[in-house]
Structures are given as structure tokens and as C-alpha cells.
Symmetry: C2
Subunit: 337 residues, 2 copies
């Protein structure tokens, strides 16, 4: 397992870089703001912190891509930390926006403190991400640091655009199938593409190589989201778990649901009649599957997976790290499968 080797090597250094970044807030008199950030990151000594830490997949993609692109992954640590901080900033704000009381089995930040403090803690986390990016000026070069900052800010703008669409769609009964893509490109794919491109950038790659790494992350992000949407209806916990686990009950604008609506068939008729109950779940899921929505979604996921792996190959990665990236991609795309 090449991935296991690299994970054991890189993850402790990534965690250390993250702790260093978050500690920055202690330069100011800020009450328990640092404690809020520590809690969210899963470093609190509350017995549940370890499980709630997150897998740090995004920063690992950064350092793996730097190695694959022929660079020294240590120099990319500020970029790795910064994408993870952006991800976590967005989780803090998303949890407020979605009114989610729990994340990975613990109270969300806004639920444990309150909404005003949580909005502000997210802003602080966002700022720490940007401060950390600039550390690339020391580990790589000022020119690379500036390009990385530009890339990360553009990514964040894309992220907020996707998030805006996602929130807006909630109030709309129906949206067109095409409206799905700008939302997930912003919400999911943009940050994964930034991870892989930042990894290449830290290695000093040229524009062509950066583009290939970007494409790898972008396609991987889209494949991941399509599969996530598929599992949100036909995954074990969606079909048999709590009702909140099924996108059919949550009325999420996911890919199979929008596809089913676009067909104007039995699924669409049932959907328009109102909320789907827990007892109807297997039947409605079967209707949607019979109309081809599962195959359609799987097909799209497969297509993007293929594109991702082709883009990775096009980067001509340094062999061991390239293999680890392939393993990581497969792991992401085959979970629950």
C-alpha cells in the first residue's frame, strides 16, 4: 500500500502545520476563539475529538501531487494546511446555513456556542487559511506564493458561488438538470482541483502541468459528487437508515433526482405530489432506478473517474506518488461500494 506509506509519512507533518496555523490567533487577545477553532478541528480533549478530526484528504492530495510533480512535499505544507482550513471554514459556515446540529457525532460549533460566535469563528478560520498560504513565500518562492494566493482566492470565490446556488435551490421546487453542474463545480470540484493544482504549483510545475493536475482534481471532484449523490439514494444507510440519510426525504437537488424530474415520468409525478415518507422509500427509489436515474448517475461518475485517471496519467507522475494518488482516487470513489 503506497498510499499508506505516504499517509504515515505526511499526515503528522500536515497536522503539525495545521496546529501552527490555528495557533496564530493566540497572537491576539481573543477569549475562547482559539478554543472554538481547536474544537472544530477535532483537537479538543473531549473523548470524541479523534473520530471528529476528518480524514485530511485534501491536504494529502496537495503533498502527494507535489511529490508526483517532482517536488519536495515539505515545501507544500503551507498550501496543504490552507486548503484544509478553507474546507473547515466552509464547514463551520455550512453547518449554520444548513441548520445542522451535529457533525461527525459531535455538536457543531454554532450549536455548542451560538450563531454569532460561530459566524465569526468561521471568518477567523478563513483568515488563517490565507495567512498560511503566504508562508509559501518562505518554503518555495514569493512568486509561487502570489500565484497560490490568487488560485486559492479564485477557488473560494467559486466555492461561494456554488454555495449560493445550493442555498438558493432549496427554496425552489424544481430546477433544471443543467443547473446541477455550476453548483457542484463550485461546491465540490473547485477545492479538489485547487488541491491538485496547488501541489503542482508548489513543485514549480509549468502551466501545462498545472492544468493537467487541475483537470485531475476537477474530474475527481465531479466523480466523487456524482457517486455521493448515488449513495444518497441507493446507499445502505439511505435505504435503510434514518430518514435524514436519504436525499429523497431531504428533497435534495441531487443528480439522480434532477435527472428523474427531467424525464417527466412516474418518479416526477410522485415527487410533485409532496414529501416522500420513510415507508415509501424503497418504492420511490425503485421507480427512479427503473427510469434509469441510477445508471445515468453511475455512468457520469464512471466517465469522470476515467477522465480523472487519464488526466493523472497525462501528468506523468513520479511513479510511487502517482500510484498513491491512484489509490486515493479509487478509495474515494469506491467507499461503500
Amino acid at each position: 500500500m503506497t498510499l499508506e506509506y505516504y499517509s504515515n509519512l505526511m499526515l503528522p507533518a500536515i497536522e503539525q502545520e495545521l496546529r501552527k496555523a490555528v495557533a496564530w490567533v493566540q497572537n491576539y487577545d481573543s477569549g475562547d476563539l482559539h478554543e472554538m477553532l481547536i474544537y472544530h478541528m477535532g483537537w479538543s480533549d473531549d473523548g470524541h475529538a479523534q473520530e471528529s478530526k476528518g480524514k485530511r484528504i485534501r491536504p494529502l492530495m496537495v503533498t502527494l501531487c507535489t511529490t508526483a510533480a517532482g517536488g519536495d512535499w515539505h515545501t507544500a505544507l503551507p498550501a496543504a494546511a490552507s486548503v484544509e482550513l478553507v474546507h473547515n471554514f466552509s464547514l463551520i459556515h455550512d453547518d449554520i446555513e444548513d441548520n445542522s446540529p451535529l457533525r461527525r457525532g459531535r455538536l457543531t460549533v454554532w450549536k455548542k456556542w451560538n450563531i454569532p460566535l460561530a459566524i465569526n469563528a468561521g471568518d477567523a478560520m478563513f483568515t488563517l487559511a490565507h495567512l498560511t498560504t503566504l508562508q509559501l513565500a518562505e518554503s518555495t518562492s514569493p512568486g509561487i506564493a502570489l500565484q497560490a494566493a490568487q488560485l486559492l482566492h479564485e477557488t473560494c470565490l467559486h466555492l461561494t458561488s456554488g454555495q449560493h446556488l445550493d442555498i438558493s435551490y432549496e427554496d425552489q421546487d424544481e430546477i433544471a438538470l443543467e443547473a446541477y453542474w455550476p453548483m457542484v463545480q463550485g461546491k465540490t470540484a473547485a477545492l479538489v482541483a485547487a488541491c491538485t493544482e496547488l501541489g503542482a504549483l508548489a513543485a514549480g510545475s509549468d502551466l501545462n502541468a498545472r492544468q493537467a493536475y487541475h483537470d485531475f482534481g476537477h474530474s475527481l471532484g465531479l466523480a466523487f459528487q456524482a457517486l455521493d449523490d448515488l449513495l444518497g439514494i441507493w446507499g445502505d444507510s439511505a435505504l435503510t437508515g434514518k430518514s435524514t440519510d436519504s436525499d429523497l426525504i431531504a428533497r435534495k437537488k441531487s443528480l439522480p433526482i434532477l435527472y428523474g424530474l427531467s424525464l417527466q415520468g412516474n418518479f416526477a409525478s410522485r415527487w410533485r405530489k409532496g414529501p416522500v415518507g420513510q415507508d415509501e422509500l424503497p418504492e420511490v427509489a425503485a421507480t427512479l432506478e427503473n427510469e434509469g436515474a441510477r445508471a445515468y448517475t453511475q455512468n457520469i461518475a464512471d466517465r469522470y473517474t476515467k477522465q480523472a485517471l487519464e488526466a493523472l496519467e497525462a501528468t506523468r507522475p513520479e511513479s510511487q506518488a502517482g500510484q498513491a494518488l491512484q489509490e486515493l482516487a479509487n478509495q474515494l470513489l469506491k467507499r461503500h461500494a
Copy 2:
């Protein structure tokens, strides 16, 4: 009026730079996100936009300081726009955090749309600020752009620290007089100090000059806040206006109130008995004044004003722009007086 001359010269260019920055979000498919930002900035064609635009004092301080430091103010426009965007991002989030329905006579963003969309719009505005800062690489140099980004991020971290304290204090019946300063240094002074220092930085000033400009802004910010707190109790609208205009009724942890509490006298006894009613306002304000809180606050405001003007003089500003900065400082500190 030198200030008037410079305002007429610089404000249209600042506004244009701001519009260019905000338009960036249109590079992504983002529904009405752009419209939300336009609305907040006061550019909507809704009949009330002009009054709600804000005075753009902070960006004007940037370009004035660049001129005063011997630079070409046009090169500082990205820095000027970015501080105004940071200020406006913080207003969007503050209005949610403070549950404020109105800002300058119009509905706040969260009230006009909703809280989830407004949190996200604030995040977008914050991101636009950072993207704009990086434009300094073109107008000045990559080195200055990196230093400016570092300065602005540190400022934002200070800002969120101060905001955290401010929100935290709301739930506490009483806080010590000393606890006032870390809050206002973060909430108010940090961004003003960033404006003046960024102005000098864009002019290519050395570290000593940057520090002097920083001190000017820092002291000015503190003087402004102390006076604002004074007017929050003894200003015309606080004494005679709607009850929400008085910090005594809003139970704000302002400087004169914390001073009065620290004295443990008649004001403190009255305060601890519970909310102050509209009819008691003149009496409670008089008690506080008799105990010396008004003179104490005025004295602190005067001291910081003096420090600010001394710091400005220490920069040996280019004569005309220096005069305009002095006018601006006096205008800020003498409003309502």
C-alpha cells in the same frame, strides 16, 4: 478645503475600483449573488442606494496616505478597494450577529434575503477583498503585494478577535475596564491602522515610515471609538432620540459605562438593578457624568487625538495631502460636536 479637493479627485476612482472588484463574482455562474453584493454596496437602483453607500473614508485614507508618503495614489487603488471590501464584509456579518434589521435606512442583506445567503455573501465579499489586494502586484510590485496581503490578513485576524470579544461580552453582566481595549483595538483601530499603513506601503515607504503611519491610524481609530462611545450616551440622538440610540438602554459595554462600573458608585448601583428605561435616561446619564465618566472618556479621546496628530507629523507628510489627512481626522473626531 484641501480634503474636498482630494475627495473629488480620488473618490470616483475608488468607486470604479470597487465596482471592478465586485464584478469579479460574475466570472462564475452564481445566481443573484452579484445583486446581493451590489445592493449592500449601495449601487442598486432602488431610490435609496445613494444615501446607503457609506462615506468610503477608509479607502480615502489609503490613497491620501500614499500621496502623503510621496507615492502615486493611483497605484494604491487595489489596497484602497480591499480595505473597503473588508469593512463591508464585516458589516454584512455584523448585521447578522447583532440581529440588526436596518443599515442606513434600508433592510440589511440578511433581512432582505435570508441568513444562510447573507453569511455566504459576506464570505464572497471577504474573498473579493483578498483578490483585489493581489492586484497590487501589477500596480506596485510583487513584493509589496505580498506584504500588503500579509498585513491585511493579520488585520482581519485582529478584527475577528475583537469581534469575538464584543459578542462574548454581550452575555456577561459586567466586564473589567481593561477588557475594553483589546476589543476596540481589534474591532475599530486595527482596520484604520491597516488603511494608513497600506497607504505608506503602496508608496514604497520603509519600515519606520510604515510604523509612523500605522500609529497615526491606530490612535485615530481609538480616539474615534472613544468619542463614538461618548456620543452613544451624551450625543443628541442618544439623549433625545429613539431608545435604541442610547448605549445605556442597549447596555453596551462602552468606555464610559465600564468606567462608571469600575467606580462602584451610584451609577454602578443603578446599573446592577437592571435595564434603564427611556424616562430615566437623562438622570442616569447625569449620574454617570457627575461621577466623571464623560470627562474621563473625553480625556482619553483627546489624548489619542493628540497622539494621532503627532504620529502624522512624524511621517513628515507631503504638505497638501498631510493637510487633507489632518482635516479628515478632525472631521471624524468632531462630527456632532
